[in-house]
Symmetry: C2
Subunit: 96 residues, 2 copies
């Protein structure tokens, strides 16, 4: 029987965001937007969901004159990613 895939992570954009945050540990909105090739609106919504899920922390500051949104994967988020990674293996490697 297949293990359920965390619906928060089983979303192309949110998975891409988390994937990036695993590597860089901290990234700003515009960095995520560029590297995921997403629209600002979509990214904004999906970051909120990751935050509501308790997977990332978001800090809003000002960088010079412009607003800056910094995102960081937290412990819970990293664990969720690791679990997702384990669980999807079963789907990707069908037993012969």
């Amino acid at each position: 029987m297949f293990k359920d895939l965390d619906p928060i992570l089983h979303s192309q954009l949110r998975l891409a965001v988390v994937s990036l945050l695993v590597s860089v540990k901290e990234a700003e909105f515009t960095y995520l937007k560029e590297h995921t090739n997403s629209t600002a609106g979509n990214l904004s919504v999906q970051l909120q969901k990751l935050k509501e899920a308790g997977y990332i922390d978001i800090e809003k500051k000002f960088k010079d004159k412009y607003p800056q949104t910094m995102c960081k994967l937290n412990k819970k988020g990293l664990l969720a990613f690791e679990v997702y990674f384990q669980n999807i293996q079963q789907y990707l490697k069908p037993k012969k």
Copy 2:
């Protein structure tokens, strides 16, 4: 930049179905239902989508007195699965 994930396959149930069909090459509705732990309604809908996408072939026969729906992954479906497999690797293995 992340490669887009085939939306037909990036669905837990459809991915599970295709994953099973990669192994067994042919399976009946009830087998898929049991092994994916899905409801009949949901499975029915998702099998139609896989069929519409041209990924599986569905053959409706009678086994003794009961209707029997046989599902088979075809070439296009197998290829799509392989591409999906390749593409999702990028999300799952963030570069250090």
